[in-house]
């Protein structure tokens, strides 16, 4: 199946739009994008998961790996997600405690601006 990736910068925040399925086949592309963004100095990432249809453990591993990379630069990796079936995966694995999860890009942006 397909995974579409896009990203844009809004102030300090780099927003990564993810659409489709993040699984063992497509996860490597998301990993490459996150690594590339960090290598180019984008340390505050917001991954929009609203259009993600499926997420498996390999995909979770990529998000965790991304978080570790940005943290090494005092950065952040946060998520936008309101879909129950995706949230459930984060809850089961305990990742709700690891990632900031927001209901919308605006909400995440506000929280981020306040933090600074």
């Amino acid at each position: 199946m397909d995974l579409k990736l896009d990203h844009r910068t809004e102030g300090q925040l780099t927003i990564v739009e993810v659409e489709g399925e993040i699984d063992v086949y497509t996860a490597p592309r998301l990993r490459e994008l996150l690594i590339d963004l960090v290598n180019k100095g984008n340390f505050h990432l917001l991954v929009n998961m609203e259009k993600v249809e499926f997420l498996d453990s390999t995909g979770l591993g990529v998000l965790v790996g991304g978080l570790k990379r940005v943290r090494a630069h005092d950065g952040s990796l946060e998520l936008v997600c309101t879909q129950e079936r995706i949230l459930k995966i984060f809850r089961i694995t305990g990742l709700t405690k690891v990632f900031g999860i927001y209901a919308s890009v605006d909400e995440a942006r506000e929280a981020h601006d306040k933090d600074k």
Partner: protein, 383 residues
Amino acid sequence: MRVLLVEDDAGDALLVEELLADSGLVTELRWVTTLGEATKAVGDFPAQCVLLDLHLPDAQGLPALDQVLSSAPEAAVVVLTGWAEQEAGLAAVAAGAQDYLIKGQVEPDLFGRAIRYAVHRKQAERTAAALQAERIRSQENARLERGLLPVPLLSKAPMAVASRARPGRASSLLGGDFFDVVEADDGTVHAVIGDVCGHGPNEAALGVCLRIAWRTLVLSGLSRQRLMEQLDRILRAERSSPEIFATVCTIELPPDRHTVRVLRAGHPGVLVHTPATVELYEPDPGLALGLPFEDERWPQSELALPQDAALVLFTDGLFEGRLSAGGRQRLGERGLVALARECAHLSGERFVDALLAKVDAATAEGGGLTDDVAVMHLKWSEE
């Protein structure tokens, strides 16, 4: 048979053509005069045999042979040499050619036979190499599988254990699913199922490592909280990449048979299987192991064990299969429970086989299960 002749001397080429015509072999011959043309020709002319002169305008001797062997790895190579260079012919055979023939010294019969034998030898050689690679791979898989799928360590406890594990379609290698059953000194039966994220030999090896670590920690009598802390620590120390994490679900069945204690570290719940029905039990989960988060406590919960109940531990591969080709619907946990209920009247081994068959059938159109799958069914036996 397709034969590619690489020969820059037109007279010699004509000779070969005549020999072939008289040899009785049915051949399709293509003639090129340089190594460069030869490497291009094999693209659209997959020759079974290459007849190679070692004195070409653009390459000489063994380097010419090397290039032919690498650009036409499936073809038998027969080197054509002059009368005075039999040594070169022998060297070519040692370097990977199937045979050498001395120009002007060969009768058509012998020429045809030499080519036929060379092609046969090449095929046998390739088959043997493929078999060897396959054998090494299956030995490797068997070793990992033995490590991942253990014999239950039960001394007295009358516990019937039925387990199945399958590698996913996504890779022929096993992934990192693991499970184990151990009886502690007090007669409590401990079981674990786990899933190292990702696929491949590293993840499978890490699965083996975690299983043995878990077994050791249980036998040394650690509390469950302490045990998970140590397992988490071992995972962090042993993993090959920092993004690897593992989910684990453990259960404890005390010998009074009335209860079961469940602990989840980022792992799906357990199925409670009675002869009448199947329910998914999902107590509060704690964090998966190896995540970038410190100081975690894993909630532990206790469930009264219904009469005649069995417990089924599984990995997420069991319910992540797609329901139709290219479709978005996955089986999901709810779908899994529905299929399990259809098998509720079966026990042990038969329940597990029937459930796997139903999951396979439900996801067949969607390409089957891509991730690896492990299932373990545990039930106190009648006394």
